[in-house]
């Protein structure tokens, strides 16, 4: 996928050409689920998922590369709430596998593939760009690689996951995505 500062159309928008700030890469279509349930259900689901769910709140677990076969992401965004992300083609199979594995344990597995859009924000100023609208301390001591949390970017709720020192992934409800991307684009002017 082409690296542009801001993802996705409309193409008529002026681009900020400076890759030294940060660039956005739109996520490919992905299957997403919210899993909520008891610890037993989580354990059973984790084995079927092929990736143990992170135990600690606000921590991520992942294997594989985004969108590629076999990629699995599990983000613990609430004490009993996990955001699971897999390649779109594997969504149905994963859903069936999880339901089968957890049949004996009360739980909730809900398909929210289209509730979100996602993008990666990467570059030397990625954290600064987010801090234009997000009051969290994004120093690596306070927000290390592997941390994920729901938070606010200006007036929009986002899920913010740090995948690397200068690499973040953002998940946002789809109707808020244009607002979030426009804000980041606007904030990028501060780094020209």
């Amino acid at each position: 996928m082409a690296k542009t500062l801001m993802a996705e159309p409309p193409k008529s928008k002026p681009r900020l050409p400076n890759d030294a700030i940060a660039w956005i890469t739109a996520a490919p279509p992905l299957a997403r689920f919210i899993f909520r349930g008891s610890p037993e259900a989580e354990a059973a689901a984790g084995s079927a998922y092929g990736l143990a769910f992170p135990k600690a709140l606000n921590r991520a677990a992942s294997i594989g590369e985004r969108g590629k076969p076999g990629a699995r992401v599990a983000l613990r965004i609430g004490p009993d709430e996990l955001l699971l992300i897999v390649p779109i083609a594997e969504g149905k199979a994963v859903q069936t596998a999880l339901e089968t594995a957890t049949a004996a344990h009360p739980h909730s597995l809900v398909d929210i593939s289209d509730r979100h859009t996602g993008f990666a924000l990467e570059g030397p100023h990625a954290a600064d760009l987010i801090n234009a609208g997000c009051p969290l301390d994004l120093d690596e001591r306070a927000f290390p690689v592997g941390m994920v949390t729901r938070t606010l970017l200006h007036k929009a709720e986002i899920v913010l996951w740090r995948m690397g020192p200068t690499l973040f992934r953002v998940e946002v409800w789809r109707s808020f995505a244009p607002y979030v991307e426009a804000l980041l684009e606007e904030a990028a002017h501060d780094f020209l």
Binding site: L57, N58, I77, P79, E81, T149, R150, T151, L152
Partner: protein, 94 residues
Amino acid sequence: MLLIHCPYCDSNRPETEFRNAGAAHILRPSDPATTSDAEWAEFLYLRENPKGTIAERWRHVHGCGRFFNAIRDTVSDDFAVTYRAGEPRPGTTP
């Protein structure tokens, strides 16, 4: 902008991530039908409004999503302590 300690996230987070949810330790009567009108009115509407220490509920709505309790000073806005829902008010015996 205040920082509020979420007892679930176990970290200080900006106040904009939170919503106040009213007074804490107000129990919904287990059998409302047996309460008198006066008792029900008390449950619905009558709240302490102290100058000083207050126990109230907050929700980390734009974070982990959990409701929790806090002891806050209504004059200084200082949060003395926050604790999980269901836990007794600190300094009281359950």
